[in-house]
Symmetry: none
Subunit: 221 residues, 4 copies
DNA sequence: TATGAATGAGATTTCATTCAT
DNA sequence: TATGAATGAAATCTCATTCAT
């Protein structure tokens, strides 16, 4: 299994979403919006939406609490923006991977890595998306759910394509497989706190192999 | 792969922990403790620890909010008790399964079902354990973490035993495999909200097969 | 100045109100009333009326909180009874002293000692009377105030008698003098917490002398 | 005994600490901190720390209860600030008096007046300091106790100096004398509620004379 | 763009009290 | 005589939000 190099440069230049931009872009209006949302993301991921206070966010950007309201209209709105960023980021990259030229196993490997890495490295907005989106008000929740489904469908399609190409076992249920694949990936969100053997990357590789071996079509011989 | 019938009835008679007892036990002191904790569990699971109010709990037991404090000392203490129950319940059953006489695949299948079913059927305390235990104060968190590790180790040991018996692939990493297995199971916690095809049971079965095929030792022929 | 021995045995046998009876009287109804009120007194003195909870009282008698209401009708009623005991105790003794046969200086010395000693030894009900009676409801406060005035008048009369007898300076204002005398005594309530030189008794003696020298009639020569 | 005029104007211009400023100072940040603490002082003095509610304080400043927390961090913190102000105020003035040029009797007279007047005129923070400081949490209590000791030592030193100068009786115990002097002064805190004969000022003068006569060195003749 | 001040609405927790047993 | 269970009323404190500047 190759590394799937053609997608090793995910489209979103920001390289796996650092959440706290290294250096401020030269200028431009609403410059600090990014900072604020990154702070919100990390606070929501760490403390949970309801466990986080706007003061926590303000502390992290070095701003007064009241000033935040220049950047968002309400705490809930901030959560929506954070979730949206989390999922859109990954959607963009995943679409690029899916549109690539490799085989299904390579693609799935790349997708899993793209999903696991930011999680295990504590990327805030994806974690916030995963765990906190359920606290969004109805409408926002629906909007974010649509994005989530879009993401899932990409993965599902990759699986389906792999089955048709004879690369994956023909008896898979693509939806279920997608759920299993992403389920395993999401589990990785909880690992950094554990004393695991091996680096995160080794673990991710192990996981990828484990899953792919499970769904690969039996080798003819 | 057989169904592993000998363990399909988990030891704890209460069968998948109904969380809200159908009828009150005859009498005895502190009778309503169970009721109260079950209500707390379901509210925490549904709304998140910080999103839930003690009033929510009181409403669900039909008690005044202040009266709850007769049964627990603080909201956090209630969360700890809920988490403890969630994990201890499953530990008991899983130990029984692991101590059974079947093969590793059968055991893992039973374990997965035991883990998935209450989750997908909305069992409160296990969900609360999974998602809310991180909001416990340090000490309580450590106590609960010890229980969690105990559970994981049971599963891990089943995997290792299966490998030794030649029933599972010899190149597995038992810890990693356990993580993957439980990761998939936990993912099921999010499914009830989705429009899935097929009954929960079919889905669970599909998942179980998927995973076990992935880790089963290649059939000699 | 002699010790005023004729009054060294105050009338109330209980010897300066131990607040916690050494051994329970053989039997009789409402036996534990004493215990309960003593506990209330010490808790009120220590924590202040509003700072003390009925639970604190219950803890000190080894009783459940609800059981206290068998002994008093409300927390405020308990305070009134405590205050009443505190002041009546001292009134009884002080009247005995005042009715004695010695001179005014001897009597005042005895009165001061009787007032200072229980305070400095942490007697609860007198302290409660001094500091907490202001939290009584209007009517109860008036009743207790009447007792307080009675006490003050005794002391005042001793002063006046001493002036008439030529034993005290003729230019004293009896009321003011009484206030000063009791003011000094009450100050002693705060001393046990301080690192003072000398035993409490030495201090009390010093105080007594100080005051009496101040108000004694100049020795003719 | 002269009036000790040179010190009759205590240094702190605010003249006996009015506690509720007549008119708001022109502007500046945190303008209302003073108002809030003055209100807290008067409420604590009147109702006792535990008997007072933050709502009482808010009512007195004309602010909503929640807004108070903009000015202090907790009710206990408010009490500490109040106590600190109460004692620091008096320390400043008393140091000025003690450093003056008159004799010990003049100085003690001035000190006593400075102590008695605000008490009898209901100055809140000094009363709060006297009666409520015992409800402070340990650390704060220690800090305030240090200030209290500083005050006492000033008075003690004045007494000692007067003894050395032959102005006060040579057989006094300076500590004890200081306790007696302040004890009498503190008693005045309870007088406004009483129907006393004469104006407060006459009473204070009477007290001062009484005490000073008691400790003055016998006039040689 | 940012902030100080304030507030309304609640959250958790405490506590005196009641009452059936 | 005593208690377990429950409750109403409040108390302290938190927090998202507003608004004038």
């Amino acid at each position: 299994m190759t590394d799937g190099n053609m997608i090793s440069r995910p489209r979103s230049g920001a390289a796996i979403e650092p959440d706290v931009p290294a250096r401020r872009p030269p200028a431009g209006p609403r410059r600090r919006t990014e900072e604020v949302l990154a702070a919100a993301a990390s606070v929501f991921a760490e403390l949970g939406f309801h466990g986080a206070t706007t003061q926590d966010i303000a502390d992290r950007v070095g701003m007064r609490q009241a000033s935040l309201y220049y950047y968002f209209v309400s705490k809930e709105a901030a959560l929506e923006q954070v979730c949206q960023r989390g999922i859109e980021h990954i959607i963009g990259d995943t679409e690029a991977i899916a549109a690539g030229t490799g085989g299904a196993t390579d693609k799935l490997a790349a997708i899993m890595r793209r999903h696991i890495e930011p999680l295990s490295e504590n990327s805030a907005s994806l974690r916030a998306f995963l765990h906190e989106r359920r606290f969004l008000p109805k409408d926002a929740r629906r909007r974010i759910a649509r994005l989530a489904r879009r993401y899932e469908r990409i993965v599902e399609n990759v699986v389906a394509a792999g089955m048709e190409a004879g690369e994956l076992r023909p008896d898979l249920n693509p939806t279920l497989t997608m759920d299993a694949v992403l389920g395993i990936c999401n589990a990785a969100a909880y690992w950094p706190g554990k004393e695991r053997v091996g680096s995160m990357r080794e673990i991710a590789d192990g996981l990828v192999r484990l899953v792919l071996d499970g769904i690969a079509a039996p080798k003819a011989h």
